[in-house]
Symmetry: C2
Subunit: 344 residues, 2 copies
């Protein structure tokens, strides 16, 4: 089952069930008006939405055309957004470029930061930011949405609580990170609003690409229309989603609709070293910081700039037959405008 | 106007308007079913709730008894919980006890961490935690709830967006903090679910104690029935709420219903040094860590233990006439039980 949230001038949008090929959709309003409402009562609502999806696939009910640019993030706002850094290769690389040691424990103890979740951006809406000097970067990731997770959940409980899978652009402001982390309280201004893929899908939609803990498919990233990354989300993921969820739930319950991110997807090169650019036959990168890190290791300094106004990022994932699974996040970095003027 | 959220077996509870003396309440359902719904459309809903509050105060409509233990946190779950550390005296003290330097910039650049907001605890419900070894501490604070705040908001816009004021117990797990902060991504497991006062009140309810940016009244904290703190929330607050909100909104919009916390309220002693315990004529403390810090500075090591199962914390604020403004947070630290068994 694939779900999306259409813009309807409300804060939470309107829940729709989307066809497998992402061309048609049908309102879920008689069952649940919003995705959060569905997640709040998934045991009852989930099966009814699945029936609707079945009928939609059969063409057994009236449907409308689904346009990805009409979608908000599946949860336009959420109560919990916890983002991991599960591809430890990425962390090791970034530290190496800085000349900093990475503690051995990073390979055994998951790194998760608490994100802000009140104002997510739509998958085709501009990323509006007040300054290009902040070092604007994308971070292409996979995320899951959970049901309620009790405090102290086991890995098995965590795995059983995964309801939906989606893609993320975790926008990051690299030039604000060092000063913010030096203060010791983690990210805040350096992690502005994130965006999620048009569709959130149940794990069964991934078929054999879902192994119960991660998605074994390349995450396709392009910048201004050129391929930039195709790292496999199933490779080098040191902590899978059940591990990240259990970590997040160690001292607190997680509410239904919690979003747990993988962190920037990153693969080692075949020779064990840092990944190579796609133009050199590698799988490329899921954020500019990693490419800049590789450039720093190679040449002593980064060459590729961060994003500027007008730059466009696209993030997508395709199944074995080449069909888009979640639809595409495609966003242009734009200056901040008066919110009234900027409204679509 | 005073607002509260009654337990009704739903996730968001039922919004009620509460009388000024906290003895009576009336359902706000015909106007807004939940506090989040009210905040989502405050321009229209706020005045109608104020009319209801006026009629309740006059005894002009049927009302029911208000019991603080029937209340959830005013927002039982929220989309944004950003907690400052505005009483820089507190930060300076804690660092001093660790022998660490505090950067000068801490006096001019606000410290804010991103909290988790999906599962707040009720103000009279137990604080259930899986281990006493985590170093369980309270943090008594003041918080405000905002309307929508645009990215890049000025101090004036931030001040104008403050809708409600309430108290917080920002439960903290001190023994988990050092390892978590050393990882560089800020708090996560060390900041489990927080609790808020039974009532959230509009700033006008505070009369002259609200100066547009902070609450000029002592925050009363007791431990197991004994007075522990009465630091004045209007004293030594280096960054007031408009400053904290503008900081939080620098690179992102804040959604309606965002909660912004002050951080642990802390006053210097009259001689400029660390505050003294109440038993020694001082104003005491709003968390155990600060007392332990003072003990460490004085005696080389802390004497007072962190909270144990069975310990009870009470946090309250009274007006000039001695009436409770927000009702009391009163919570007993308790072992984790199966969520099904633990349900009230």
């Amino acid at each position: 089952m694939k779900l999306a949230t259409l813009k309807d001038r409300t804060r939470d949008g309107q829940l729709v069930v989307v066809s497998r090929d992402l061309t048609r959709c049908v309102s879920a309003r008689p069952i649940a008006a919003t995705l959060q409402a569905a997640l709040d009562d998934w045991a009852h609502v989930g099966p009814r939405l699945a029936d609707l999806a079945h009928d939609l696939e059969l063409g057994a009910l009236p449907s409308q055309r689904f346009h990805e640019h009409d979608a908000l993030s599946p949860l336009p706002r959420a109560y919990q957004w916890a983002d991991g850094s599960a591809y430890v290769n990425h962390v090791a690389l970034v530290r190496r470029a800085r000349g900093a040691e990475m503690p051995e424990s990073f390979w055994t103890d998951p790194l998760v930061y608490q994100g802000g979740s009140d104002t997510f951006i739509g998958p085709r809406d501009p990323v509006r930011l007040g300054s290009e000097d902040w070092g604007i970067d994308l971070e292409a990731e996979v995320a899951v949405v959970t049901d309620d997770v009790p405090q102290g959940a086991t890995r098995e409980q965590a795995a059983a609580a995964i309801r939906l899978v989606m893609l993320v652009n975790d926008v990051s402001l690299r030039n604000l990170i060092p000063a913010e982390l030096a203060k010791g309280f983690g990210f805040f201004q350096s992690k502005p609003s994130s965006a999620f893929s048009p569709a959130a899908v149940t794990p069964d939609e991934l078929g054999p690409a879902w192994d119960g803990g991660k998605v074994r498919l390349p995450l396709l990233v392009s910048l201004n229309g050129k391929p930039f990354g195709r790292a496999d989300a199933g490779v080098d993921m040191t902590f899978d989603f059940p591990a990240l969820i259990a970590h997040a739930a160690k001292t607190r319950a997680l509410g239904a609709g919690s979003i747990i991110g993988s962190g920037t997807v990153s693969n080692r090169d075949a020779d064990g070293g840092p990944g190579k650019p796609i133009t050199e036959g590698g799988v490329g990168y899921s954020c500019l910081a990693e490419l800049r890190t590789v450039e720093t290791i190679r040449d002593g300094q980064p060459k590729t700039p961060f994003l500027r106004y007008g730059d466009t990022v696209r993030i997508e994932m395709k199944d074995a037959k080449g069909h888009s699974i979640f639809g595409a996040i495609e966003q242009t970095v734009s200056p901040l405008v008066d919110p009234a003027e900027g409204e679509a």
